[in-house]
């Protein structure tokens, strides 16, 4: 791994924690050069890394076809490319792979490299199983959000070596006609704490107790598929096999029975709490902490306890 490129994730112009961890992780392999590809505006002057990085900023645009991505492909040709899973990063990595005729592996949970061979653990079946892969040819990797960074430590910051901008240009006629960001809530895929509720809440008007607990925790809110199918909650809150897959530190499931399709979306969570009035709910078997009780009683009490601290 002589040369490494990282597609960065940023928050308010700075690298997010996962990207910093990824920089420390790739530093273990002693690369000679590191390119940091940053989407959108940034103010990076120094980053924690083993060698000073070269920053390439991608200007705003729809990086959604070969003609747009080819300039980036030229810049990272011959590099081993890493990104941490997001919608945009997976889309860019797959377009890059086809431009570079490179092999890409996504859903990477752990990764080792020795004597030119990658040993890759790829999470499959929504986290229910792991596939060990070896490859001397794959060069593009999309790492899962809960990638095992346990043995990396933060490196001292080094001044950025160079900064350049790739301006979006495409031969295609694609254009954004409207942007609809979700505002006012914590984005679910990034949330460290999640409070999720299901049909056990009985009515969408009862969601205030879920929101109150989420606010007291600083958590994002989520829901089960039946709830989003009933339009009680927006689709982007649906967690499960065909919805968002989350891997927070804490997942609190309220009035969710725990169908296997729902578990597929949450089994990457570190600690799972299940609150349900049905002691037979299958979710209890997959819980770290379980409370058999009425959500209308339990949730406000938890909120009150948190607020009293």
């Amino acid at each position: 791994m002589k040369n490494v490129a990282i597609i960065a994730q940023t928050k308010e112009g700075q690298l997010n924690e996962a990207t910093n961890q990824l920089l420390s992780f790739v530093s273990k392999f002693n690369p000679e050069k590191i390119i940091l590809v940053v989407l959108g505006e940034n103010h990076l002057s120094s980053v924690g890394c083993s060698v000073p990085v070269d920053v390439i900023s991608l200007s705003d645009g729809l990086w959604a076809d070969t003609s747009a991505v080819s300039s980036l492909a030229n810049a990272v040709k011959g590099y081993t490319v890493f990104g941490i899973k997001s919608i945009q990063i997976d889309n860019i990595l797959s377009l890059l792979a086809s431009c570079l005729k490179a092999e890409v592996v996504s859903g990477v949970q752990h990764l080792g490299y020795s004597a030119g061979v990658f040993s890759i653990g790829k999470s499959i079946f929504s986290g229910k199983a792991m596939l060990e892969i070896s490859s001397s040819t794959a060069s593009i990797f999309s790492l899962n959000r809960n990638f095992d960074f346990s043995d990396v430590s933060e490196l001292p910051a080094k001044a950025v070596n160079s900064t350049s901008v790739l301006t979006y240009s495409s031969e295609s006629k694609s254009a954004i006609t409207a942007l609809k960001p979700i505002t006012g809530t914590i984005p679910l895929p990034d949330a460290a704490l999640v409070v999720s509720a299901g049909r056990g809440l009985k009515d969408p008007s009862n969601w205030t107790i879920v929101e109150d607990l989420a606010n007291a925790l600083g958590a994002a809110t989520a829901c089960s598929k039946p709830v989003s199918d009933l339009n009680w909650r927006p689709h982007h809150e649906h967690v499960g096999q065909t919805g968002v897959k989350v891997s927070p530190n804490l997942y609190i499931a309220c009035g969710i029975s725990g169908a296997i399709q729902h578990l597929a979306g949450v089994n990457g969570s570190r600690i799972i709490v299940v609150i349900n009035n049905d002691p037979e709910a299958p979710f209890f078997k997959h819980a770290d902490y379980g409370i058999v009780g009425d959500v209308n009683d339990i949730l406000p009490r938890l909120t009150k306890k948190l607020q009293s601290h």
Partner: protein, 244 residues
């Protein structure tokens, strides 16, 4: 207008996954297979477009003959013909290469597939296909309308949604609520019997090596807290875990 819908055939969402000790890979014993749920959304939307705008819908699957019953079901839903590229691909690259080879010989206007297959969860085949063909690529698409030669899309993005207009040809990864899943009609099932499934060979490109699969079990604490003492949950989360 020709629409190619690429489908995966995957274990049912309720499947209990096990390892075959003789191959160290996921065992197919006792599993019920279905058309990938996201691919099913893509196919449903393609059939709706055929009904509303007129289009030829071709279903493509890269895999073995055991998938023919599921391919036949897609024909019963309203697809006009199907192609099976016969083989056992082991990576997204091999599947994408097979689709690209087919489309280079048999040009289409629009390629739809699910945003990911629910077995290997890679979610990159659409991007690889789009990149190799030089087509426009959007993923995951939640609404798709045709206006002449242009597509009007609603696409999920990190932290929200965007509406996009783009020109054909395009490759789209699809997710709900792009369409409702459909059930084949008796007439559809009858006519599907005589529809063609052509079989082409897979020429697998060099790829990664699969070493072994294992079941990932997360050990859970399974600690029950009495409802009367529910508040102690907060203390336990603070003392026994460091999540708060």
């Amino acid at each position: 207008m020709k629409i190619l819908v690429c489908i995966s055939c995957v274990p049912d969402t309720t499947s209990k996954i096990a390892i075959d000790p003789s191959t160290s890979q996921i065992s197919s014993q006792g599993l019920t297979y279905i058309v990938g749920p996201y691919d099913d959304y893509a196919l449903s939307r393609a059939i709706e477009l055929k009904e509303s705008n007129g289009a030829e819908v071709i279903v493509l699957h890269v895999g073995g003959s055991e998938s023919e019953a599921l391919i036949r079901k897609c024909l019963a839903l309203g697809a006009d013909s199907a192609v099976r590229i016969d083989g056992n691909p082991i990576s997204s690259t091999q599947i994408a290469d097979a689709i690209v080879d087919y489309v280079k010989q048999n040009p289409v206007d629009l390629i739809l597939m699910g945003k990911e297959s629910i077995d290997y969860n890679s979610g990159i085949v659409h991007g690889l296909v789009a990149g190799a063909l030089g087509y426009v690529h959007f993923n995951p698409v939640m609404h798709l309308d045709l206006a002449g030669n242009d597509l009007q899309l609603e696409v999920e993005i990190d932290g929200g949604k965007m509406e996009v207009s783009c020109a054909l040809p395009a490759v789209l990864g699809c997710q709900e609520p792009i369409a409702e899943w459909k059930i084949p009609s008796m007439r559809g099932i009858m006519t599907a019997r005589t529809k063609e499934i052509s079989v082409l060979p897979l020429n697998p490109t060099d790829s990664v090596k699969l070493v072994k699969a294992s079941i990932a079990e997360t050990a859970r604490r399974n600690k029950m807290i009495d409802a009367a003492d529910a508040e102690t949950l907060i203390d336990l989360l603070k003392t026994e875990t460091n999540v708060l």
